[in-house]
Amino acid sequence: MIRKRGTAKVFSAWWVLMIVFVIGGVVGGVTMFYSAEVDVRTLEAKIITDKVERCFFGQGKLNDFVLEESFDFFSDCNFEEELFGDGENYFVRVSLFVDEEEIGDFSYGRVSFERSCEIQEGSSEEEGVTGENLAKCYGKEVKFHYDGGTGTADILAASNQRGRRSQDVLQE
């Protein structure tokens, strides 16, 4: 009779494979997590609407200069005009109504974002559609006094800025 004892093979190809999978999974997951972009586009759109509201209205009234010929949205409201070109990352629209009559309509930036906002909002007949690459929107309605009456302003803003990792950063 030959006495035999079983032994476990401690080091094996399966152990190596297991280690590779586990470590690969951890590294992959951590890399994906920490390299993910923080999406602040909706917040940015909200800031645009708030800034527009502060510019257009004061103490519940529409500021007089808004409807004047000389009104320049960018210099009067401190927005950078170059960033609101048609190919850029922002859009803003302000529609002013008094007694359901439109007294002013201002629209700047990439016009196609307005359609993106409509698509995402949907309608009473169909649900809105979301998409990672669609601009993020924010809208608000502001009531104001004007010429003895009450008006309503619809402010809609959109942002699709992602930010950039810079390999070639600002050189002095």
Binding site: R5, G6, V10, V27, E37, V38, R165, Q167
Partner: protein, 137 residues
């Protein structure tokens, strides 16, 4: 007599292979743990967070407002990488971008849409950004 038992003749009672196995596992997972810690506390997380936070604060600021930011966490990363603290925050006012950088040849930038001029200065762990000129308030 029992036939058919598997195993080496005489068996192997040595614990050395098991000890080596445990040590190698500890080493492997320690290396991974250190790497995860480095990734979590490394510069690229803070660069993105700071650049976006600063851009949004600038965008929502009124003329004459000062924004004071604590950069202590980012400065730790910069100091670990021998990167000058004065260069951690810079503005490209021509293109309306804010750059945050804690390591050489890398950083994160974000646009801001506020057209007011900006000035900044560092005091200790704080960066102070003034939005608008001296006469704005």
């Amino acid at each position: 007599m029992i036939r058919g038992k598997k195993g080496d003749v005489g068996g192997d009672d040595s614990v050395l292979p098991m000890v080596m196995y445990i040590i190698l596992n500890i080493v492997a997972f320690s290396v991974v743990g250190l790497w995860v810690n480095d990734a979590a506390t490394g510069g690229f997380v803070y660069e993105q967070a700071y650049s976006k936070q600063i851009a949004l604060l600038i965008d929502s600021a009124k003329p004459g407002q000062e924004i004071v930011l604590n950069f202590s966490e980012g400065f730790e990363v910069a100091e670990d990488n021998d990167f000058a603290l004065e260069k951690t925050l810079r503005f490209d006012q021509e293109n309306n971008r804010v750059f945050v950088q804690f390591l050489e040849n890398r950083g994160h930038s974000y646009s801001y849409f506020n057209s007011l001029p900006l000035s900044s200065k560092r005091e200790g762990d704080l960066w102070t950004i003034r939005v608008g000129g001296e006469n704005d308030s």
